[in-house]
């Protein structure tokens, strides 16, 4: 038995792009001991997934391991023939990907898919089926027989990921590679899947390579962690020590970018990491991080530091002892905060409902949502998938027509349900930043045209005035001019989102809906975008409806928070009171599901089961089917009213407010 489940020594991986080889991993060395969980973190493009694919020799066609040695369970991966490689993938390594719906065969029943693995191992069909049921049982699927009869699309995302994990573990692999296994899942489901992985690790005694951009998840799950930056391992060490006292400026910067409870937009901006990561394949002579490092000296520019051993942990920095004192890159507040005006609400939503017809059934995506938005205020809208967040946004904007009894009014004027019926100034006043800039920006148009057209139509400018406004706008969203002639494809995710923000602000809107604008971005980019939104709010006195599933993000930006569950508002109140005042049991569960970077978990509340379908919402309280604090029959028969638990803070629950207080820390 080999000592290491996986060992990389000085591995280079290169992709051949238009004839030139670009190295995306350079001299990567790390090992994972048997039964150990190792986390690999870093931002997109740093080579995490490439490392995972290299570990099973499954690189894309244009990629190759150019140098170095990879050993899985003591066997040299690079010298293996096709047959050996296949048997290795069959018995020794297993991989779970980010998107389970793409990893499962859509035309095969779950039972067959899992049984196939056992049949390959030589079991008879009947035996294979019973082993499959056993596996599903071990991944805590309560009714294996029924699930085995299903096709993948009939299962929820969380269920699919459990099945994928069951399939990976079916062969009892020595090494399990998890590549962002919970990134596409809702927070409460993510928490469940992570619990499961944590337990299974010990049951199966499998070594884990855990790849994630989410530092908090890695902190919770992994014994040791490596930080990748531009294909280089820049720091490695025991997870908790690494996150407590990082010794590389990049790790320090990464940790500081995370929004933290005490930071609020009115008090401070989030730390960012200035600049951009180098293009893939770039190899400056010195330290790879020099261009973005506040500690960098002449020595860093000329001489690449080795991975320095500092007592059981490693840092690739000449000044690792100083890393903790990295000067803060914390942009100053752009202007004095404009107070939310005490006047009447700028936007008022009354009894907003949206019912879709699905065959003969009515699907209530939103039910009786009422809320006000003041000028210059940010309302955070929190909820998991299927809660109706996006429906609310689209109905507000008039992209889908709300049900007839709904009323949306702006500055006292009632808005017709559809854009077509609305007055141009009302359409201009209500804009949106979409979640996915790839879909929101026309890929055929250059950036100049994307923003310019919005200025022409929304601000009614032309000629020199338009050009002037264009430059002012790109400057205020910090988009360098050289990107103006380029198409969105050439821009990074953060830059694309800046273009989308510039476009939304082209006509001096009153209300901007931000639909998860940072959910696809890296933490350092997310911090910069959140800072930008906060700055724009101060200078433009705009109100935001900020939709997100990430509570820490909402907390930074929101003045008030509304929590949505199955199309119902279950709680609404000032941001601080939602976190520290009485809480709806669902809010409490959401908060406790968010992993904490310190690795310390307070009281964990885990929700049972799946979010019910909006086609068949539970009778009584919408949350009763999953509520850990259900008090009895009344929850199933009678829907609680949204009643004031304290001033301006309303909760929809039968439990009296003073029993809903969160436990003191």
């Amino acid at each position: 038995m080999a000592e290491n489940a996986l060992a990389f020594s000085s591995v280079d991986v290169a992709y051949r792009i238009r004839g030139t080889a670009r190295k995306v991993l350079r001299g990567l060395s790390f090992h994972i001991k048997r039964g150990e969980a190792y986390g690999l973190v870093g931002e997109s493009g740093c080579g995490k997934s490439t490392a995972a694919f290299a570990a099973v020799r499954y690189l894309p066609r244009n990629g190759e391991v150019a140098a170095g040695r990879i050993e899985v369970n003591g066997q040299d991966l690079m010298s293996m023939g096709a047959r050996e490689l296949r048997s290795l993938r069959q018995t020794t390594v297993a991989m779970v990907y980010q998107d389970p719906s793409r990893a499962l065969n859509p035309s095969m029943r779950i039972g067959r898919q899992i049984a196939e693995i056992f049949e390959l191992g030589g079991l008879a069909r009947g035996q294979a089926m019973s082993r499959s049921a056993e596996m599903l049982d071990r991944v805590r699927i309560s009714d294996p027989q029924r699930v085995m009869e299903r096709y993948p699309h009939q299962l929820s995302g969380g269920m699919q990921q459990r099945v994928a994990i069951a399939m990976a573990l079916a062969r009892n692999p020595a090494l399990l590679i998890l590549d962002e296994p919970t990134t596409g899942l809702d927070v409460t489901v993510e928490a469940e899947v992570l619990d499961l992985i944590e337990k299974l690790r010990f049951e199966f005694d499998t070594a884990i390579l855990f790849i994630s951009h989410n530092l908090a998840i890695v902190a919770r799950l992994c014994e040791r962690t490596g930080v990748l930056y531009a294909g280089r391992l820049v720091e490695e060490g025991p997870t908790l020590r690494l996150f407590e006292s990082p010794r590389h400026p990049y790790t320090v910067g990464l940790l500081r970018c995370l929004p933290r409870p005490e930071r609020r937009k009115s008090v401070a901006r989030l730390d960012t990491i200035p600049g951009f990561p180098p293009a893939p394949g770039a190899a400056p002579p010195g330290c790879i991080f020099t261009a973005r490092c506040a500690l960098a000296t002449e020595r860093c520019r000329l001489e690449e530091p080795a991975l320095i051993d500092i007592g059981g942990r490693f840092s690739r920095c000449h000044y690792h002892a100083l890393a903790g004192d990295l000067p803060r890159i914390e942009p100053a507040l752009a202007a004095a905060p404009a107070e939310a005006t005490a006047g009447g609400p700028i936007l008022r939503i009354e009894n907003l409902s949206k019912t879709y017809r699905v065959g003969d059934h009515a699907l209530a995506a939103l039910r009786d949502v009422s809320l006000d938005l003041l000028q210059g205020e940010t309302l955070g809208l929190v909820g998991e998938s299927g809660s109706g967040k996006t429906t609310l946004a689209r109905s507000l904007l008039g992209l889908t027509a709300a049900d007839p009894q709904s009323r949306i009014s702006m500055n006292g004027r009632t808005l017709p349900p559809r854009i077509g019926g609305r007055a141009p100034e009302d359409v201009k006043a209500l804009q949106i930043v979409f979640q996915n800039p790839d879909s929101a920006l026309n890929r055929s148009h250059a950036v100049r045209r994307l923003i310019g057209r919005a200025i022409a139509k929304l601000a009614g400018l032309g000629g020199a005035a338009l050009q002037e406004r264009l430059l002012a706008l790109t400057r205020s969203v910090q988009l360098p001019d050289r990107y103006l002639p380029q198409k969105p494809r050439a821009l990074s995710g953060g830059l694309k989102q800046r273009v989308a923000i510039a476009r939304a602000f082209a006509g001096e809107p009153k209300v901007v809906v931000c639909d998860e604008p940072t959910s696809a971005l890296d933490v350092s980019v997310q911090a910069a975008i959140l800072n930008l939104l906060a700055d724009l709010q101060m200078t433009e006195a705009v109100s935001y409806i900020f939709i997100s599933h990430d509570l820490s993000v909402v907390r930074y930006l929101a003045d008030r928070i509304a929590v949505l569950y199955l199309g119902r508002i279950v709680e609404i109140g000032p941001a601080e009171r939602v976190f520290h005042g009485p809480q709806h049991p669902y809010t409490a569960a959401l908060l406790s599901a968010v992993p904490d970077i310190a690795g310390s978990q307070g009281r964990r509340i885990r929700l049972q089961g799946e979010i019910p379908s909006a086609l068949k919402p539970p009778a009584g309280c919408v949350f009763q089917s999953r509520c850990p604090r259900k008090i009895g029959r009344i929850c199933e028969t009678e829907e609680p009213p949204l009643s004031e638990a304290e001033a301006r803070h309303a909760i929809r629950c039968h439990i009296p407010p003073d029993e809903l207080m969160p436990p003191a820390k």
Binding site: Y15, I17, R18, R22, V24, E43, S44, K48, S49, A52, F53, Y58, L59, P60, R61, N62, G63, Y97, Q98, D99, R102, A103, D179, E180, T183, I211, H213, A279, P280, R394, L397, L399, I419, P424, V427, K428, L430, Q431, I432, F434, N436, S439, A440, L441, N442, S444, H445, A446, R453, K457, L458, P485, Q486, K487, R489, A490, R503, A506, A520, L521
Partner: protein, 294 residues
Amino acid sequence: MSDASAAPRPVSAPETTVAQERRERAGQLLSSPTFLTGAAIVVFWAACAIFGHALVPYDPLADDMLNTLLPPSREHPFGTDQLGRDVFSRVITGSRDILTVAPLATLLGTLGGTVLGLAMGYSRGIVDEVLSRIVDALLALPTVIVALLALVALGTSKITVVLVIAFGFTPIIARTVRAAVLAERELDYVAAAKLRLEGPLHIMFVEILPNVAPPILVETTVRLGYAIFTVATLSFIGFGIQPPSPDWGLSISANYGLIGGGYWWTVLFDGLAIASLVIGVNLIADGIEGVVNG
């Protein structure tokens, strides 16, 4: 955040400007042997269509009753036909009519199909429903038979041939365009355009059209191959290009009875010419599709 998916995708380079991207596409096309072979064949026949009359050794229309049905020789490399006309000169100049009619018909069909497809895909609802049924009905009719009927009714001329083929292509292209538009209209950039008060015409032609151009381009080249085929067929049965044009289909029609007598050269070279042109166009289509979907 990570690009992980069930199968690793080839990694592409970031940071390309519009001009670079265009150059890159062109470069890919020019390094595709399929495209180059096809282009060489088509360019050859196009050059023949334009300059052929000035270059050929004999007048393709001139009878020579003393030298009928001569086999290939030094003076007549492809022999002569039953009126003593030089087959080589006729084959070389015979591409002129077909290379005017077929591309024109394809272009017109693409134009009609694109407008129709955009309208169907973007409007959806009742407009789409009605137009789609009409398109389905049209697609159920066999092109050549409809073309025949129309030509009988309208009388044969190059313009009617162009119109008839374009009419046959419109529903086919409309369906391709509609499918592409259906996917595009759900993207948020369309919603963003509505939110800045753009009209439907702007959204269809300025926002959506450039994004559905690649499948339209592929479909058009494929159609061009079919158009050449159809024109040749119509000429063969007497409803396409009219005598005395040296058109290939027409020549085969006039001479195919002679094969039995051993006069193969009166038909073979015209047949090869048609085949090579269709193959050339299809190779171009393959090359373009490879780059577009590659």
